[in-house]
Amino acid sequence: MERLPILKIGPMLLVSIQVDLRDDMVIALQEDLAERIVDTGARGVVIDITALDIVDSFTGRMLATVAALSRVLDAETVVVGMRPAVAITLVELGLSLDGIKTALDVERGMRLLSSGGGSGR
């Protein structure tokens, strides 16, 4: 199975999702990220979803799970690049993504993580 590449940039991990996500890839990403956080001692994870044209309940749950598990592993997750149409759809679907930090793009996401909180804008 194709796995999504996870890049290490300083104390952070970056995943830029560039393909149409299959559910098995979503599950693998969750597991790979947990492992990489522990192996590298990363303090932050940036998930770039700029290229994703939809986020459904399955992908939404993965984002929430990664955010929760990174917290347990003493790291923070920021989701960046959500398209406006995707955000509108997510709200109507009923997915709140409560507790997930977001930022407009990778740069702002990285800045948010290194500043240790606040808003990513």
């Binding site: 559910d23 309940s57 399955f58 149409a85 759809t89 109507e92 009923g94």
Partner: protein, 132 residues
């Protein structure tokens, strides 16, 4: 566009269904937000077909109402059916490990939503999204 039937037997098929629904939504000139809503609903319903229905198919076609164009997608399986439809359509109800948003959420995302199901006799969910 003539009706297109796609099998739903694995994760890769769910991706193909999303892509075919997207293409049909673009062809019917749905707005970007409406395309996104329809494709998201299709993703939820195709996954339900696979997960709970044990696989099945999606039929995607362009529909007309006077001058109005729309996209219809029909998801069918020959699985166990849904015993309590009202419960299944409740936000947050899942019999598995999901978030229970697939059915209730996709109903909100489309213009027309119907379910035919009978215990032991499979499930067919039909959705339509109209161009504005």
């Amino acid at each position: 566009m003539t009706a297109q039937e796609l099998p739903i037997a694995g994760d890769a098929d769910v991706v193909r269904v999303r892509q075919a629904v997207r293409a049909a939504a673009v062809a019917a000139k749905l707005s970007l937000v409406d395309q996104t809503k329809l494709v998201t609903a299709a993703s939820e319903l195709a996954r339900n077909t696979l997960t709970y229905g044990g696989g099945g198919s999606a039929v995607i076609e362009e529909v007309f109402n006077g001058l109005r164009k729309g996209v219809k997608a029909v998801f069918s399986d020959k699985g166990p059916g849904i015993a309590d439809l009202k419960l299944a359509l409740t936000d947050g109800y899942t019999s598995g490990s999901g978030m229970g948003l697939g059915l209730s959420g996709s109903r909100r995302l489309v213009d027309e939503f119907t379910i035919e199901t009978a215990t032991g006799d499979g499930t067919t969910v039909t959705v339509i999204k109209w161009a504005r």
